[in-house]
Amino acid sequence: MVKTQVSSSSNEELDIEVSKDNEEIIIKSGSFVDEKKVDINKELVYLALIFVASILVFKIVFYKESIMVVSQLAFSFFFLYILPGFSIMYYWKSRLEFVERFIIGFPLGAAITGSFGFLLGLFGIKLIFQVWLIPIVCFILGWWFVTKTRNL
């Protein structure tokens, strides 16, 4: 085995071992980075399509409900949980593909909005303010991750 160190594109150091016959590479620590290029405009289109599809799904499942109620509900889930979580996931935009960031965005958004909503409540900030405050902070952070940060 030949031990060596190389740098990945995220400047992480990789400890690797290469077998003598050069057939096997063992990563001892760190990882190769499959850096993904993110096209924000394209992703905004995807998000819009998913939002419309969500309304459609809700309308199919709850077909006796008005389109207004269904849209309002879909918007609520997007605004409160999915988009805040997805925004924060832009921190890892170069390492995770859109679908993974979108899906993990939901538990992340729920974790952030729920946890910090609870904690803000302990300091007397009521739910009615939290539902605006937390998502907006997440959107600002997300915008910052999109525009200002290097690929991580």
Binding site: S10, L73, Y91, P107, A111, S115, F118, L127, I128
Partner: protein, 559 residues
């Protein structure tokens, strides 16, 4: 026609989401989102969590338990982890739907997304296996596996949702600063359902130890990430954990139950039938394979967790069996993939996606014939409870005679008053003996074992009396959670401020008995009917303790 591989993944996931939501909630909810009363509620826990969330939304913060659920004491800390109450209140505020709808809808979505998170966990290993794992998850909607949604195990569903998210985050510790994700998910888990924190921590400890052992070195960078995540999780959940240790940890301690504790809601291996054989075959394939993926270890570990009943974890472990079709889906996908590869050497992603869609449709088709219903509650009892909530003085006590809908005491929390429910066996005995009595056995509707409160801003104590003695404000001074029951089990109906009757019941004799008691009460000068609808009659007692049956007797024998 050439199919675009990019649309196949969303197509499978959207189909899964739509079918699951339709079968889980659409048909159950009469295909509506807004209802006039809690719709599709199947058991007490559902009403319990709904009523707490309702109160917290009204208060604007998630902190204290509704007084009428803790013996009329104000400012008692809610012993339950708050996450679901926060989320369902937020959704209700933002979307305008009632909390009783938002909490069930949210739980259903967390349930479905738990499956989708398992998909993402598997996808890292192999995209095709992930797609093939999806169809089998739909079997979660069969038999007892669907119980957590309808019986109100919603805090547990939220716990599983964040548990899987935490597993995903742990599997992605290679990402820069990914400890933040693990910490956020573990923190959220800490305020969602605490036993799952222990299970994730146990997995991380075992996985890390084995990893270090196999590499023959202590992996400091990974350890540092786990440590940072633990600190973040602790910061998020510290307050809630503190409440937990002063309440549930005190009253329950280690569960020490060796059965499932779920009665006829239990799930055993035989319940997964032939699919179980597919899981077992998939497990063998996994063990034979050289490359063993994280998703497989996750599945094995969670199956192992569901059998921790063997060492006394009781339902904290057994409830995870409801999620077997999610946890073990990886083995089904793995087996299906190996079989497909045997038939087609060059299997394509698009082909696998189509097989997944076909399987999904085949598996879900029989489920469309499953029955649905509005659940325990009905519009008339809901109106009756709402009338009490809005019109009865705060310290009044309401006695409930037999009602089909209100047998589950937690449903009575929606009256927002102290509620005493007639004990069924005592009622049956009275009917058998053909007697109307002044005294019956009534159970106080309460669900909490410890009434934790602030003695000082930095010191917890407990309220002792259950319920609070009428007209006496108790100080928060007790040093332990032991309570004093301040009302007898046998109560005189002439001491009730209000008495609630249903005029119809599934068994006519029960309604007839209610009507006779009601009629006798209305014959005296002390009581009057203050509310009535097609089903419900509420009697107010204007002179407590008087001879409300008349004839100076405590028992009236019926002919």
């Amino acid at each position: 026609m050439k199919l675009n591989s990019k649309i196949m993944e969303p197509a499978v996931l959207f189909l899964f989401f739509t079918l699951f939501l339709y079968l889980a909630l659409g048909s159950q909810w009469d295909n509506r989102i807004k209802h006039d009363f809690p719709y599709g509620y199947g058991a007490s826990d559902a009403f319990f969590h709904q009523s707490v969330a309702e109160y917290m939304k009204a208060q604007g913060i998630v902190k204290y338990t509704p007084p009428y659920e803790v013996g009329n004491h104000d400012f008692v800390y809610d012993a339950h982890p708050p996450m679901l109450f926060v989320l369902s209140s937020q959704i209700s505020i933002f979307s305008g739907i009632e909390v009783y709808d938002s909490i069930l809808l949210l739980s259903a979505l967390l349930w479905i997304f738990s499956g989708i998170l398992v998909y993402i966990l598997i996808k890292r290993f192999n995209k095709m296996i992930a797609l093939l794992s999806v169809p089998v998850m739909i079997f979660t909607l069969t038999g007892n596996f669907k119980i957590p949604l309808y019986w109100g195990y919603w805090l547990f569903i939220a716990g599983v949702f964040f548990l899987i998210a935490a597993f995903w985050a742990f599997s992605r510790l290679d990402l820069h600063n990914s400890w933040i994700l693990l910490g956020l998910f573990m923190g959220a888990l800490g305020i969602s359902h605490i036993p799952e924190v222990f299970f994730v921590a146990l997995f991380i400890a075992i996985y890390f130890a084995i990893d270090c052992f196999s590499k023959k070195k202590f992996d400091i960078p990974v350890f540092r990430k786990i440590l940072f995540a633990a600190i973040l999780a602790l910061l998020i959940s510290a307050f809630s954990l503190n409440i937990f240790f002063a309440t549930f940890a005190e009253t329950e301690g280690f569960r020490n139950k060796f059965d499932t504790e779920l009665g006829n809601g239990s799930v055993y291996l035989k319940d997964i039938g032939l699919i179980g054989l597919a899981f077992a075959a998939g497990l063998i394939v996994f063990l034979v394979l050289k490359k063993k993926d994280f998703a497989g270890w996750f599945a094995i570990f969670m199956f192992f967790v569901s059998y921790l009943t063997l060492i006394g974890f009781g339902k904290r472990a057994a409830t995870h069996r409801w999620f077997w079709y999610f946890y073990l889906a990886f083995f089904f996908g793995l087996l299906a993939y190996q079989i497909i590869k045997l038939v087609y050497k060059n299997v394509s992603y698009e082909g696998v996606a189509i097989i997944s869609i076909v399987l999904l449709i085949i598996f879900s088709y029989p489920l469309f014939s499953q029955g649905s219903g509005s659940g325990i509650m009905n519009a008339y009892d809901w109106q009756g409870l709402s009338w009490i909530a809005d019109n009865v003085p705060k310290d009044a006590r309401v006695f409930y005679f037999y009602s089909d809908a209100l047998g589950q005491s937690a449903a009575l929390y929606n009256s927002k008053h102290l509620a005493f429910n007639l004990v069924r066996n005592d009622l049956f005995e009275a009917i058998q003996n053909k007697e109307i009595r002044r005294t019956y056995q009534f159970g106080l509707a309460d669900s909490y074992a410890a009434y934790l409160c602030d003695a000082t801003p930095f010191n917890y104590r407990y309220f002792r009396n259950n319920p609070e003695i009428k007209g006496q404000l108790e100080e928060c001074t007790a040093k332990n959670h032991t309570r004093i029951e301040t009302v007898e089990y046998s109560l005189d109906i002439c001491d009730a401020d209000y008495i609630y009757f249903d005029k119809q019941a599934s068994q006519p004799v029960l309604a007839q008995y209610n009507l006779i008691v009601r009629q006798i009460l209305l014959q005296n000068n002390y009581t009057e009917q203050v509310y009535e609808n097609e089903l419900v009659s509420i009697i107010k007692n204007n002179d407590l303790g008087e001879d409300c049956l008349g004839k100076n007797t405590s028992i009236i024998k019926l002919e």
